[in-house]
Amino acid sequence: MDHGPVWLTLLLATVTTVGLLLLGTPVAYWLARTKSRAKPVVEAVTALPLVLPPTVLGFYLLVALGPLSPVGGFWLELTGEALTFSFSGLVVASLIYSLPFMVQPLASAFEALGDGPFEAAASLRASPLAAFVHVAVPLSARGFLTAIVLTFTHTIGEFGVVLMVGGNIPGETRVVSIAIYEHVETLRYAEAHALSAGLVLFSFLVLVLVYALNRRFPPHVG
């Protein structure tokens, strides 16, 4: 079995999850704490990447990130490489497509905290940033777990967007999901079963471990 796709998949899922943690958390936090009237609009926008079929979203991303687009052109100039058909492109696409899975559960978890902990933190001279890092984040541990699991697994399983934007280049953009898909399409069912079983089993073990650890260190509020 070719290990390239497995490795690439894990890398992509990890990079996407970490990236979305960095990008999505502030957005979710803003959503949960803001009193701005724009909130419902931003909230809706963060859910939108889900409504388009992955392949179609991939198509539009292809247009938006392609070398003829301003973004893609800028990237090409900057790095000398096209954004599409590269691992970077995959990451960008995955970030966009998986955004809702990070933002929505996090916003929900942050909102559930109410004002209490934030006022308590401020009363102890903690800046909003410190309150976020040292209070809101640990108190929302369960929300983070949900967001991370959804984002990570979804990135593993997704391939419509990835295939479209990535171009299935071995070692660069060819992830496991595409490999399994290929096996199914070409009637190599035995290989498909083996790869699927491996993926499911691996994911299952990781998830059980994660949830078991989460249980041992409960992030309970109250």
Partner: protein
């Protein structure tokens, strides 16, 4: 000293005082405050449940935004609707202790304390961790998750946590309400001592006048969102018109005295109060030390002639100044002039009639030594 709402705003001095001059409306409840509190010592905030004590403290801390007005601490303007100033709570350096404690459930007790200690003002007064932990007896709790603490334990931790921020001003919202008397009696002297030692001005909300009368320099009485009265504790305690608001068993006087001498065998201390000697239970304080004695009107009896063979230690000659009806039928409040201070006594109408008490009469005020809480 009641507050005159027509006093011009410019007279609010901005030196070493907390000036609160704002209005704030929340549905049916409106808080209208125009008062200035010196930024030193303890100001007790009293008032019935729902009178706005918590809301007042929250506005000072920055958790409630007044609709209009100003909050100025010393030379710092914390809030001013006119200039759209609104210093965020964490920059006000106001240590707020919440009525519902709000401990962080993801940290253990030590973690909660560390959260505060790490952010303590560098130039703040000297509360240090070991000191606070000892005084509040937090040692056995340090490794405990906050979720499993008892009500009183939570309050002790919350108080310790707030102290450790070394705030510029302390805002304590019923800090000891969940503690039993014994525990309060342990903690209060520490708090009192520490506050005066480190000079941290404090607004102290309490239901229990006894709890704070001994160490509050001033009282601020709220009633339905308005400042009903405000002034030094002794005057406030003397004012009869405030008794309904302060609780009818709480009326009395607060007298400033000086330790005269002690009797180590009898465990008594004599205090000079403006020329009168009053025996109280032993006080740990050097001779000449200033002390405050709170004498509740209900603990003072009167006699027309000096009683003999009686266990009451303090028999203080004086002149009956005035008799006013008490707040409950059948009760009379008497004001007695001693050498230089006045003392208040609560009597039954029956006693007044039987003894033929009338203003101008010479009387003896009887005060049991044991009525002074240690």
């Amino acid at each position: 000293m009641s507050v005159d709402p027509c006093r011009p705003a410019s007279s609010l001095s901005d030196f070493a005082a907390l000036a609160m001059d704002f209005r704030l409306q929340r549905a049916d409840f409106g808080l209208v405050v125009r008062v200035e509190v010196p930024l030193e010592g303890v100001t007790a905030v009293f008032g019935a449940s729902g009178s706005g004590k918590t809301t007042l403290l929250r506005a000072v801390a920055g958790f409630e935004r007044p609709d209009q007005g100003r909050v100025v601490a010393g030379t710092d303007t914390w809030f001013d609707s006119a200039t759209h100033t609104d210093v965020p709570p964490h920059r006000r350096a106001a240590g707020f202790m919440f009525q519902d404690t709000r401990l962080f459930p993801h940290l253990d007790v030590a973690g909660n304390l560390a959260f505060a200690a790490r952010r303590a003002r560098a130039d703040g007064g000297g509360f240090d961790r070991a000191d606070v932990v000892t005084a509040l007896d937090l040692e056995p709790l340090l490794r405990r998750r906050t979720g499993s603490l008892s009500g009183g334990e939570r309050q002790r931790v919350a108080l310790g946590r707030t102290l450790l921020t070394r705030p510029r001003i302390l805002l304590l919202d019923e800090p000891l309400a969940a503690l039993e008397r014994e525990r309060k009696a342990d903690i209060l002297p520490y708090l009192e001592g520490a506050l005066s030692r480190f000079g941290i001005p404090t607004l102290y909300v309490s239901h229990d006048i006894d709890e704070v009368a001994r160490f509050a320099d001033r009282m601020l009485l709220l009633s339905a969102g308005r400042v009903q009265a405000h002034g030094p504790t002794p005057q406030m305690l003397e004012r009869l018109d405030l008794q309904p608001a302060m609780g009818r068993f709480e009326a009395g006087v607060l007298l400033a005295g000086r330790v005269l001498r002690r009797d180590p065998r009898l465990h008594l201390t004599w205090v000079d109060v403006g020329g009168d000697e009053i025996a109280v239970p032993e006080i740990t304080g050097a001779g000449g030390a200033e002390v405050r004695l709170r004498i509740r009107a209900r603990d003072v009896a009167l006699a027309t002639c000096r009683p003999e063979g009686i266990s009451i230690r303090n028999v203080l000659p004086g002149t009956l100044l005035e008799l006013t009806p008490g707040d409950a039928p059948g009760f009379v409040e008497a004001l007695v002039q001693l050498h230089s201070v006045r003392i208040r006594s609560r009597l039954t109408l029956a006693a007044v009639e039987e003894l033929g008490l009338a203003p101008g009469m010479s009387v003896f005020a009887l005060v049991k030594t044991v009525s002074f809480g240690v």
